[in-house]
């Protein structure tokens, strides 16, 4: 930023540094407004998106919509089987991803020695977080649907839930590690000084303190799983399922799948119920996120 004298060859005698503050501050202001513009634009898009979905979809939202099966006629269509599918997927995914993800996080943060295996695990986990969801879908198709189809029931909710569980494992592992990292070491040292083993310290003292953070991370991971469409399409979700399939039954469906189908149809009536489906999905997601935020606020100041 130094302005050398050579810029003012004529005024050598009174060679004075000209900070040009006026114009620099003008550019400063332009830059500042640009950053505000970008932030507000992003939030405005979110607002327009929500508003558009609400305007299009809210008129169709009724108890009938929640309690009818998808149909070829938009006016009779509902989201009963997709909603039940999504809730079951949620259960299966949570049942697998939560213990495994938290266990892996505890292992890496509290037990693992700093050796090549641990480093490989860490690199692997951050790598997995960037793998596209369709690749997980292909893994689910090859492993859970075809290879272990005799256990999972093939194109079933269990296959879908297991695939989604693998998809969100990195999220839960990272969240667990972050929450454990935030617990002060004095707590661990105090436990060990009283003769506890490492696991006793973790189980009885560290984990209860870190639990809110872990739960928040898990819920955020689950809400990503619930909105995921591509993985379920590849694993073999169906569109029109006129009954409520249970866990191991082949031929399941879910909310994002039916939304995807309705949006891709040419008739505007289907687009309108797609918006209603999006509202139902967003309500499920918002409930989950609100729970996460509530837990975070409730337990944050306990340490």
């Amino acid at each position: 930023m130094t302005v050398s004298n050579s810029v003012f060859p004529e005024t050598q005698s009174e060679a004075r540094f000209d900070p040009k503050l006026e114009s620099r501050y003008t550019i400063d202001n332009i830059f500042k407004y640009a950053t505000w513009f970008a932030t507000i634009l992003a939030l405005a898009v979110l607002a327009i998106l929500l508003l558009d979905v609400l305007v299009d979809g809210l008129p169709n939202l009724s108890l009938d919509f929640l309690t009818s099966f998808p149909s070829r006629r938009p006016e009779n269509s509902g989201v009963l089987s997709p909603l039940m599918g999504t809730l079951q997927l949620l259960i299966v995914t949570a049942l697998f991803a939560f213990p495994i993800g938290v266990g892996a996080g505890i292992y890496l943060q509290e037990f693992a020695k700093d050796n090549w295996f641990t480093r490989a695990l860490e690199i692997n986990i951050s790598n997995l977080a960037a793998v596209p969801t369709v690749i997980y879908g292909l893994l689910g198709l090859a492993a859970f649907v075809n290879l272990f189809g005799f256990l999972t029931g093939g194109r079933s909710i269990v296959s879908g839930g297991l695939t989604l569980a693998l998809l969100i494992l990195p999220v839960i592992i990272v969240a667990t590690r972050e929450s454990l990292k935030a617990i002060p070491d004095s707590l661990r040292l105090a436990g060990m000084a009283l003769g506890s083993t490492r696991w006793q310290v973790v189980w009885e003292h560290v984990l209860p303190q870190a639990f809110a953070g872990i739960l928040t991370g898990t819920i955020l991971g689950l809400s990503r799983a619930i909105g995921d469409t591509a993985t379920l399409v590849i694993v073999g979700a169906k569109t029109f399922v006129p009954f409520i399939p249970l866990f191991f039954q082949a031929g399941f469906t879910a909310l994002p799948i039916i939304i995807f189908n309705w949006v891709s149809r040419p008739q505007p009536a289907f687009h309108s119920i797609a918006a209603t489906g999006i509202i139902v999905l967003m309500i499920v997601l918002l409930t989950m996120n609100a729970t996460a935020i509530f837990l975070r606020n409730k337990f944050q100041r306990s340490v």
């Binding site: 930023m1 558009d52 213990p99 292992y107 693992a112 596209p132 994002p256 949006v263 999006i278």
Partner: protein, 313 residues
């Protein structure tokens, strides 16, 4: 352990005897179980690689690699099939570039805004707002692209098709923006205050400080967030499936229907594909290509962060 060294007569006095042996055993068992859980993440990677490699290898026994790389069309389901993967790559490239043109400048500017300009209490509201945007499922963005953005743009661009790369790319940019904004903001926020004060002390304005001192100091984190954004764009599926079309075309024209790698995978697997058929294997061949691209991006990101990461104490 300690119990055994005590004389048997003292048992009756009710001395407390820690069951060290049992605790030790529990500890070992727990450690093995937790270690196994951690190993599942490795198993996932191995599973991905194995399933991709196995089916892709089968694919290349039927379709030679040079045809995969040199064919000028992608028509695997036709009677006279052609397998030019670059047709799909061109579509992925086009939509990703458009998305990044939106997401990188807007994402970085809002990261700067949140970290440097927004008052603390406002930041506490703006950041969760952006994170909500990041949590919107991509099928919802697909709805948005197809039914709101495309009709809007068609009023101004007469030759635009209902399915096109432009609106898919634009909306994808909005979808990726929060990822870049949030991660870059973390990196920018972590730059120590002393660097900013040093810059102010030699007479730089706030903008000059941000552009010449803070952003370079946060460069490794920013680049990592952008690379993750590119990986998201390349792997993004529902927006491009719904809004960009299912029409494999070797073109960089953003106004006509195209088909990305991800859209092909979803389209073909949406119908029941018999295991072991050529179309089943085609899915995995495209998946492998996609995986290799994101792997290359990841490796670049690791290398860059390792090389340029600034450490402050």
């Amino acid at each position: 352990m300690t119990g055994s060294v005590l004389p048997p007569s003292s048992q009756s006095h009710g001395l407390w005897q820690p069951k060290r042996g049992a605790s030790k055993r529990t500890e070992d068992i727990v450690k093995v179980i937790l270690g196994a859980f951690a190993a599942i993440s490795i198993a996932t990677t191995i599973g991905i690689v194995l399933s991709l490699v196995f089916e892709t290898f089968q694919f290349f026994t039927e379709v030679p690699l040079w045809r995969f790389l040199t064919d000028r069309a992608w028509t695997p389901l036709f009677t006279n099939p052609q397998y030019g993967i670059f047709v799909l790559i061109s579509a992925t490239f086009l939509t990703s570039v458009i998305a990044m043109l939106v997401a990188v400048p807007l994402g970085l500017l809002s990261a700067v805004c949140l970290s440097e300009y927004a008052p603390r209490n406002l930041r506490a509201w703006l950041k969760p707002g952006l994170e909500i945007l990041a949590g919107v499922p991509s099928v919802v963005f697909g709805y948005f692209a197809l039914l709101l953005v495309t009709p809007f743009l068609r009023q101004f661009i007469p030759g635009m098709n209902t399915f096109n790369g432009l609106s898919a790319g634009l909306v994808m940019g909005i979808a990726i923006l929060p990822t870049i904004a949030s991660l870059s903001e973390d990196a920018i926020f972590a730059v120590p205050q002393s660097l900013r004060q040093g810059s102010y002390a030699i007479g730089a304005t706030k903008r000059e400080t941000i552009l010449n001192v803070v952003l370079p100091a946060a460069l490794s984190g920013i680049v990592a967030s952008i690379v993750l954004g590119v990986a998201r764009a390349v792997g993004e599926t529902m927006i491009v499936t719904l809004a960009a079309g299912l029409n494999p075309t070797l073109t960089l024209n953003p106004l006509v229907p195209i088909q990305t790698m991800t859209a092909f995978i979803v389209q073909v697997s949406g119908g029941d594909v018999p295991v072991g058929s050529l179309s089943y294997r085609t899915l995995f061949a495209v998946g492998t290509t996609l995986f290799l691209i994101t792997l290359a991006l990841n490796i670049f990101s690791f290398w860059f962060v390792r090389k340029y990461q600034e450490k402050y104490d």
